[in-house]
């Protein structure tokens, strides 16, 4: 099939293949950065400066510099420092995880801070231990608090996967822009836009569903 003298079916085939890479980056990043972000949030809340301050500096660096630069760093940095580096795809995942954990850390920290002091006090007076208080009373409410901001991050992540091409991880946008310059056409990039939109529609639906699930109570 050809439109405007472009082999659409070939491009689509390549894009579907690249979608696999995008989904892999997406799910692996979520899998590692969400729990890591949770630890970052707890570390930031620590009353020990020796824990909270380095965590804050880490967040500042990874939220304060471009993700693209961080991808380069994890791809080529270790070679310069240790003479031995990550494999291309691994470097990509490491960069995404460390970058996103910094953002999730901030979101979860806000979610925890938003729980009123009275909840901790009520639990303490009733005799809950600190761990019981956190797991049974605080955490479920934090989850509800952070759903909208987390959904935001997930959607950004879908689009950020396009940056993986800077270290030659072939993903949808990479395929599209190469095809675009080869056939001198904007159509491949338009198709790429549709791919991202479809994936993010799925994310949006999923979060709508989760939000609804937590709708049975209000603070």
């Amino acid at each position: 099939m050809k439109i405007d003298n472009i082999p659409i079916d070939l491009i689509l085939k390549n894009m579907f293949a690249a979608t696999g890479t995008v989904l892999k980056i997406f799910f692996l990043t979520i899998l590692f950065s969400v729990p890591l972000g949770f630890l970052v949030a707890l570390a930031r809340r620590s009353r020990f400066k020796i824990i909270s301050l380095p965590t804050r500096i880490y967040q500042l660096i990874f939220r304060g510099t471009p993700l693209m630069l961080q991808l380069f760093f994890f791809m080529y940095g270790p070679f310069y420092i240790f003479g031995k580096g990550f494999e291309r795809f691994t470097a990509c995942i490491v960069a995404f995880v460390i970058n996103y954990a910094a953002y999730f850390g901030e979101i979860f920290r806000g979610g925890i801070a938003a729980i009123p002091k009275g909840q901790y006090e009520a639990a303490k007076v009733l005799g809950y231990s600190r761990l019981q208080t956190f797991m049974r009373i605080i955490l479920p409410q934090v989850v509800k608090n952070v759903i909208p901001a987390t959904g935001n991050e997930f959607m950004t992540l879908v689009k950020d996967t396009a940056l993986a091409q800077v270290i030659s991880v072939s993903e949808i946008f990479d395929v599209a822009s190469k095809a675009g310059s080869k056939y001198f056409s904007a159509i491949p990039v338009m198709i790429a836009a549709l791919f991202y939109l479809v994936m993010n529609t799925a994310v949006e639906f999923a979060f709508k569903l989760i939000e609804k699930k937590f709708d049975y109570y209000k603070i």
Binding site: P116, K124, Y217
Partner: protein
């Protein structure tokens, strides 16, 4: 004596909130603490329920020493003892502090199961009995956000009672309620008083304090200014500060 507190001192930054407070509460006694805002009433309650730590002084609850000051050193009991003492007291907050993600029933059974290791059946039975008593049995599956302030506060009282505390503290239990809802909470407390529940109530409801208490304590600026029977305090206090405060409260009540 269920509660013995001697020479309690507590500072926030450089402000002395409690200055040498001593207080004893007998089993079955109902004590009201009144006084202007910032007089340290709530802080005293928070120290007795371990939400704040005292700077110095001695607190003993049901024969167990929570904290003691010897030779200028203030030492709290070990974690286990503190937990045991915690289980002997209940606290009802001004703004209820129910757990919003739990249903009414779960709010009352969860602490029993988690803290007292009761079975779910036993905890549910106790919770339902308390809900009947509070006239809220039909709300057991509702969530706190669906209830009025008065209903939420009654559930908070039921949640505290379910753990069988020896003494129940109330920190301005009606201050966050509309006037027409205040009555239902006061009725519950009056019924508890009839059942000889030991209670310490910080309140701004003077008529209520007069009616329900065995003893009234008037606090101001971190001191206990005066204490006595309701007749002694409300009827013929000779203390200038007490009289001023009561006449202020009177004119306020008349105005509204």
């Amino acid at each position: 004596m269920l509660v013995k507190a001697y020479n309690i001192k507590k500072k926030f930054d450089d402000v002395n909130v409690l200055e040498n407070i001593s207080l004893e509460v007998k089993e079955g006694e109902v004590v009201s603490i009144i006084g202007p805002s910032g007089s340290g009433k709530s802080t005293l309650l928070r120290c007795l329920t371990q939400l704040e730590r005292v700077d110095s002084g001695k607190i003993e609850i049901d024969g167990k020493v929570m904290v003691d000051t010897k030779d200028g050193k203030t030492v709290y009991a070990d974690t286990n003892t503190l937990h045991e003492i915690q289980l002997k007291v209940g606290l009802v907050f001004q703004n209820f502090n129910l757990f919003p993600h739990y249903s009414v029933l779960k709010n009352i059974i969860d602490p029993q199961i988690v803290v007292l290791k009761r079975s779910k059946d036993e905890a549910t039975k106790i919770a339902m009995e308390l809900l009947y008593k509070m006239n809220l049995a039909d709300k057991s599956h509702a969530y706190p956000c669906e209830l009025s302030g008065g209903q939420q506060q009654r559930i908070a009282i039921a949640r505290a009672l379910a753990l069988n505390p020896k003494i129940l503290f109330f920190d301005e239990p009606t201050s966050a309620l509309d006037p027409e809802l205040t009555g239902e909470i006061l009725k519950v407390i009056k019924n508890l008083a009839k059942e000889k529940m030991t209670m310490v109530i910080v309140t701004h409801e003077m008529a209520f304090a007069k009616e329900v208490s065995d003893r009234v304590i008037f606090m101001d600026k971190g001191f206990i200014v005066e204490q006595g029977t309701p007749q002694e305090i409300f009827g013929n206090s000779v203390n200038q500060r007490t009289k001023e405060f009561l006449s202020q409260m009177n004119s306020y009540n008349q105005f509204y």
